[in-house]
């Protein structure tokens, strides 16, 4: 447990809690970077109010049914120090004050908890269902222990036709419903625009279409099985989610992967980030009619993925990160090839980026489009490049570093404007920084083994993994059951906190600019819907 600079605020905060007569007690929590406080359920809301006042950032909430109670955990952070707040409610009366009045970021995560575990948040400002459509009923809760994973459906699941969308009334206001199936090759979700003329007055998102029971599916798996599942939480974040899940499991099991494995995970994470940014930079430009960029960047991405396949056995790096280390290694020959390919990519970027920057019509479309002001980003708990493009200087790799980042200087690009142009600029700079780190990780690659055998975790052992994925902070909680099987897995993809930003940043923009705004954020549907 760290107690250093990251937790300089902790004692004063604890004293404040007690000053407000909150029943808090510091307890041993999941293995990992967070300090853990046990709270009385009645104080759950007051605690959030105090935490918000103290400047803690809200990260996540999840629950676990441990009959006859439901244990609820919320994760917050300040200055690189993580805090886990815990409480428990009776399964028969699972009532808890909401964090949402103090943290808008808690809105959808709490509704997710309500839909899957039946926790009722008394003063939640919007108690509509969220991830639940029509696959299960209002009084059924899939994450309760008595709910069977393979419950049979009585018949075809009807469409989610009666979701109570919000409405804006007014002269000239019309509604444009889009999805869940979209025109392009993208994931399913529903967007409901209220517009006047071409201008968007309001956007309401409706997600949950790709809910495939990931949390329930995790129950009873072994460590390898959980890693496989984690790698499929969000297809473009295989390394990020698998690393977070393995970190959580390894911490719970007090298993230290070899340094070479951790450095390789860092390298793989860089490769994942670079591939995704290459794809998105091209796609963002293409959305505003600059096909040249799509052609060039998709070509670079393809080459990069082919190297992944050749050296790591998979174009999207599936299966490379495993409990105890990595399933892949690089030979001296491959080491040289990777370094050479990365240098060639850096050279191509030197040629291509000025073309994007000097293209007046491209910049014209992107500057001032889809602005997310910094205060809004702070309020929503926005993460990753979306936050950094709105002036928020945040990155787990630098703020709460884990090996290998505690040995490296991680530069964090920040822009103030908060528009699509700023998000594009941050991503381009992350490509460059990613390539620098890629080179340094190759240079520092320690010798030795890449994997230690998984020896299992003690019954009841818990771990918390927190890594910076390419989209932003990824959090994974794992608790093992009596036979060393996974009893609970909760992955918090950064998209949970970035989807609400899209709703805000589109306001006042024209409807035809939605695709480029959406792409510039690129939140994951699957990572959110679970």
């Amino acid at each position: 447990m760290s107690t250093g600079g990251a937790f300089a605020w902790f004692e004063a905060f604890l004293a404040d809690c007690r000053g407000e007569n909150l029943l808090v007690e510091e307890v041993a929590g999941p293995a990992g970077p967070a300090r853990c406080l046990r709270l009385d359920p009645e104080d759950w809301g007051a605690f959030a109010r105090l935490a918000a006042r103290t400047g803690l950032r809200w990260c996540a909430v999840w629950g676990e049914h441990r009959p006859p109670r439901i244990v609820v955990s919320a994760c917050l952070e300040r200055a690189g120090g993580y805090l886990l707040a815990r409480t428990a409610v009776e399964e028969a009366t699972p009532v808890l004050p909401s964090h949402t009045p103090h943290y808008p970021a808690a809105d959808r995560p709490e509704r997710h908890l309500q839909d899957l575990l039946g926790v009722v948040f008394t003063d939640h400002p919007d108690a509509r269902r969220w991830v639940r459509h029509r696959a299960w009923g209002e009084s059924e809760f899939p994450l309760r222990r008595d709910f069977p994973l393979r419950r049979e459906a009585p018949g075809p699941t009807p469409p989610d036709a009666d979701y109570p969308f919000l409405r804006t009334e007014g002269a000239g206001v019309y509604e444009i419903p889009v999805g869940p199936v979209h025109a392009g090759i993208i994931e399913p979700g529903h967007f409901r625009f209220q517009a006047i003329g071409e201008a968007v007055l309001n956007l309401e998102e409706r997600l949950g279409y790709t809910h495939k029971g990931i949390e329930k599916l995790a129950e009873g798996r072994d460590a390898e099985g959980l890693a496989r599942l984690a790698g499929r939480v969000s297809g473009d974040s295989t390394v990020g989610h698998t690393w977070a899940a393995c970190q959580a499991m390894e911490r719970a099991a007090q298993l230290e992967p070899p340094p070479r494995a951790l450095a390789l995970r860092g390298l793989l994470a860089k490769r994942e980030r670079i591939a995704n940014h290459l794809g998105d930079v091209g796609a963002i430009c293409n959305d505003v009619g600059f096909a040249f960029a799509w052609f060039q960047f998709s070509r670079l991405r393809e080459r990069w993925q082919r190297d992944n396949a050749r050296v790591f056995g998979h174009r999207l790096l599936r299966g490379a990160v495993v409990p105890g280390g990595t399933a892949v290694d690089v030979s001296p020959q491959e080491h040289r090839e990777l370094a050479g390919a990365a240098a060639a990519l850096a050279h191509e970027l030197d040629e291509l980026v000025p073309i994007l920057e000097e293209n007046a019509s491209l910049q014209d479309r992107l500057v001032g489009t889809g602005v997310l002001p910094r205060e809004t980003a702070e309020r929503l708990g926005t993460l990753g490049y979306v936050a950094r493009a709105s002036g928020i200087d945040r990155d787990v790799r630098r703020d709460a570093p884990y090996f290998p980042y505690d040995r490296l200087e991680v530069r964090v690009p920040v822009r103030a404007a908060g528009d699509v142009a700023a998000r594009l600029a941050v991503r381009i700079e992350e490509l460059r920084i990613g390539l620098e780190l890629h080179a340094r990780l190759l240079d520092m690659l320690p010798g030795g083994a890449v994997r230690v055998p998984w020896r299992g975790a003690a019954p009841g052992a818990e771990g918390l993994g927190i890594v910076e994925g390419w989209r932003g902070e990824i959090l994974a909680f794992v608790r093992f059951g009596p036979r060393g099987e996974v009893a609970r897995y909760y992955p918090r993809d950064p998209s949970w906190l970035n989807w609400p930003a899209l709703e805000v940043l589109i306001d006042g923009n024209i409807v035809p600019d939605f695709p480029v705004c959406n792409k510039s954020v690129n939140a994951s549907y699957s990572g959110h819907d679970l």
Partner: protein, 175 residues
């Protein structure tokens, strides 16, 4: 602008004459694809892609079909926005129960012959997600399927071969 032209000229043609990871070679697959299209459809193939609950990994590789290495358009294959113009439906994911109705609706909106390919291990049988309270499993559990391209995700070359196979089979049948 000059810089752009220079870069275009320098990049040259990267479209694969022969992809090393493809057997038969991509070019051969592409040409057979074109030939099958000439026989079967009006020389072009309109594909509607539907993500019925995937992790998005399959979509990334379907996207790659458009990149200059595969450039699937050169064989007459286009991705279209509406099922009404689609000859073929490319469905990814285990079909989540929340997408079940939407997938059926897309299928029913298609004109005959309504070819369907289930993409990925998930599309084949539910893959890692199987059948559960939230997942119907493979695509065939919801709509009729003409072909399956396995993989997690299948590579772009595998996708091209899978599309070709279904077309060749379809072309062999009377219209």
């Amino acid at each position: 602008m000059l810089r752009t032209l220079y870069k275009i000229a320098r990049t040259g043609v990267v479209s694969e004459p022969a992809a090393k990871d493809a057997a038969p070679a991509l070019e051969v697959v592409g040409e057979r694809l074109r030939a099958a299209l000439v026989r079967r459809l009006s020389r072009s193939l309109a594909i509607r892609q539907v993500d019925a609950g995937s992790c998005n990994g399959c979509e990334l590789e379907i996207h790659a079909l458009d990149n200059p290495y595969y450039a699937i358009e050169r064989y007459g294959v286009r991705f279209v926005a509406s099922p009404r113009h689609a000859d073929l439906l490319l469905v990814t994911g285990p079909v989540s129960r929340h997408m079940e109705a939407a997938l059926r609706a897309v299928y029913e909106a298609m004109p005959e012959p309504r070819l369907v390919i289930a993409v990925g291990d998930c599309g084949a049988d539910g893959g890692e997600f199987g059948v559960s309270y939230a997942s119907c499993g493979g695509v065939a559990s919801v709509i009729p399927v003409d072909g399956v391209v396995r993989g997690c995700p299948p590579t772009p070359a595998e996708l091209m071969r899978g599309i070709l196979e279904v077309l060749e089979i379809a072309a062999g049948q009377p219209k």
